[in-house]
């Protein structure tokens, strides 16, 4: 990879972030610089409170740094105003959350259709794409089910379908297997691996779990808000 001249998909440069708590300033991220090439599957590890989620949120454009810049495909998202940033997220980012965050009143199919309503697309096309995506994640037979009628692993697969249905540049996953048993976790990780290898999706995944992180191609370690080690994993 090191020989490729193309610029990285995500370029995090000198990013700092701190929170104020009761008059006290708590530094969370200190001068982080990091490149993520297109097509990468990056694991972010580190102890609780080290700033993993904060860094992921910054890359996903749902939080803003105090200093530094974050460029995704050449666009500095830290400079985008709120409304443009929302449009940017809709077009470029797929979210996978620890607790799935599906809309409980929508069926699996409707949940997957939801982000497509922000794209200019007619009903039929929307429906067809959502159906195809649910089939891709192995839930072709669960489309009319509501989240409460699905297992954790199935809900996470619906969430993954929702994340990829808009064909975003980058998938961000914050502990996607944190709430799942071993078996379901393996299924989800295998699915993410397929998305990366077969569909070429760039993935950034935060995890506590070493075995989960080993599904990634490289791992970054964060400690007390600083990047600490970077390991390339053998494929």
């Amino acid at each position: 990879m090191s020989g490729v001249a193309a610029p990285p998909l995500v370029r995090v440069a000198g990013v700092s972030k701190s929170y104020r708590r009761g008059g006290q300033v708590v530094p969370v991220l200190a001068d982080i610089t990091l490149d993520i090439p297109g097509g990468a599957f990056l694991g972010l590890m580190g102890p609780s409170g080290s700033g993993k989620s904060t860094l992921l949120n910054l890359i996903a454009g749902i939080d803003k740094p105090d200093a530094g810049s974050i460029a995704v495909a050449g666009v500095d998202i830290t400079r985008l105003p709120e409304a443009e940033l929302a449009d940017w997220r809709a077009a470029n980012v797929g979210f996978i959350f620890q607790f799935y965050n599906l809309m409980p009143v929508l069926s699996a199919l409707e949940n997957v259709e939801l982000p497509l309503t922000l794209a200019r697309m007619d009903r039929r096309e929307r429906r067809e794409r959502a159906q195809a995506t649910l089939e891709l994640v192995g839930l072709g037979d669960r489309m009319e089910h509501f989240p409460s009628e699905l297992s954790g692993g199935q809900q996470q697969r619906v969430a993954i379908a929702r994340a990829i249905v808009t064909d975003p540049r980058i998938l961000v996953a914050d502990e996607p297997t944190g709430d799942l048993d071993r078996h379901s976790a393996e299924e989800i990780l295998a699915l993410m691996d397929r998305l990366n290898v077969d569909l070429g999706k760039t993935i950034v995944m935060v995890t506590h779990d070493r075995r989960a992180a080993e599904r990634a191609h490289s791992i970054m370690h964060l400690e007390k808000g600083e990047l600490f080690a970077h390991e390339e994993l053998p494929r």
Binding site: N57, A60, I62, D63, A83, A86, D87, W88, R89, A90, A91, F95, F97, Q98, F99, N101, M103, P104, V105, L106, E110, E113, L114, P115, T117, L118, R123, R162, D179
Partner: protein, 385 residues
């Protein structure tokens, strides 16, 4: 699809909570409608007043009479087409709660002035012929089961003794707004009886009713009439029938104002309840709103979800409340009988009810909408788990 689907399914998510809120709104809108209808009923007489009729009364107060002799002097005033007169009788039928207005009238001239009272030709003749006859309104007849030929005893309060009348006719109104709760009988009969008992109180009328040649000259003719009797023993006050009716209602205005205030208080209370429900709902769903915003939905979409849900609940409750107002008003009218001559849910009242329901939905959503739209994505997502 997703917006309306989300709004409607969210509204039905907590079935019990939504049902209780809807019931509250139904009760509030229904009460509001009934109270407004009562207020309107109070003023119904004024609504139906004819612009070409004046009422002349004693300037001191309604309870002081005028000499009958004034009739001819008033008839001589330019612009006056006809004059009639009436006395308020104030009798009690069986018990004081059975209230209905009774007037002693001069039948021919009086009824000629009120074409809105429709009496069958034959009954009218029978009434005019019988000195002790009575003419009663349809609503009054229905309330107490009066039929032509029945004898109706009234216990006098202003004019002591028990008076017996024979119903000779029943009049209908030209439309639903006409007062058909009245009881008319012969002024002559009243006057003769009074004359026998106390000569001093004879030949006096409560009010003169003046028909104008031209309704536009009401003010000038009123002035001319009152000028006639200025600085005489009984000075007069002449006003349009409408002004007279409103003046009559004014005596009880404090009650009307109280009812009106209560009707709005009911709306304010349900607004507070609804606002609390929506605040609770929005608070519970903050992580969903944060998720939607993360996915790229704009704040107005999220605010719209809250507003839509609030309006859906309020308008549903309002619609049911309005639908129930009509049968409730009918039941109420049947219960109070002739206390309100006209008791009808006005179109304006329905409009007010609808506006009140929409306002409740709108105002209740205001703060929760703001909160939902402004939810910080990271904090909202953190609220899960």
């Amino acid at each position: 699809m997703p917006f309306l689907v989300l709004v409607l399914r969210n509204a039905l998510r907590h079935k019990l909570r939504t049902a209780l809120t809807v019931v509250g709104i139904v009760v509030a809108i229904l009460s509001f409608g009934l109270l407004q209808t009562i207020v309107a009923a109070w003023y119904a007489g004024a609504d139906k007043a004819a612009p070409d009729r004046l009422v002349t009364r004693n300037a001191i107060s309604l309870t002081f009479p005028l000499p009958l002799a004034y009739r001819d002097k008033v008839r001589a005033v330019a612009g006056v087409k006809a004059v009639s007169y009436a006395n308020w009788f104030g009798g009690i039928y069986q018990k004081p709660a059975n209230f209905f207005p009774q007037f002693a009238i001069e039948p021919e001239s009086y009824l000629a002035m009120y074409p809105e009272y429709r009496v069958p030709e034959e009954e009218l003749r029978a009434f005019v012929r019988d000195r002790k006859g009575a003419l009663v309104g349809r609503k009054l007849a229905d309330t107490y089961g009066f039929r032509v030929g029945d004898t109706v005893p009234l216990r006098g309060t202003i004019y002591p003794g028990t008076w017996e009348f024979t119903v000779r006719g029943i009049y209908d109104g030209e439309d639903a707004k006409t007062d058909t709760s009245q009881f008319f009988f012969h002024w002559d009969y009243l006057n003769e009886t009074v004359k026998k008992r106390s000569r001093g109180r004879a030949d006096q009328v409560g009010v003169l009713i003046v028909q104008l040649e031209d309704a536009d000259r009401a003010a000038a003719v009123s002035e001319a009439i009152d000028a006639q009797f200025a600085s005489s023993l009984a000075e007069t006050l002449t006003e349009t029938e409408r002004a007279f009716q409103i003046g009559f209602v004014k005596q009880t205005e404090a009650i009307v104002v109280a009812i009106r205030v209560v009707s709005y208080v009911v709306i304010v209370i349900i607004l507070a309840v609804m606002a609390n429900t929506m605040a609770m709902t929005a608070r519970e769903r903050l992580s969903e709103y944060a998720t939607l915003k993360a996915l790229g939905f704009p704040p107005v979409f999220v605010a719209g979800l809250v507003l839509g849900e609030s309006l859906a609940i309020a308008v549903a409750g309002g619609a049911i409340g309005i639908a129930l107002t009509f049968p409730a008003a009918d039941a109420f009218a049947a219960r109070v009988g002739t206390l309100f001559p006209v008791f009808q849910v006005a179109q304006g009242t329905v409009g007010l009810q609808l506006a009140a329901a929409a306002l409740v939905g709108l105002v209740a959503a205001a703060l929760p909408m703001r909160r939902a739209a402004r939810v910080n994505i990271v904090e909202g997502l953190r609220a899960i788990g």
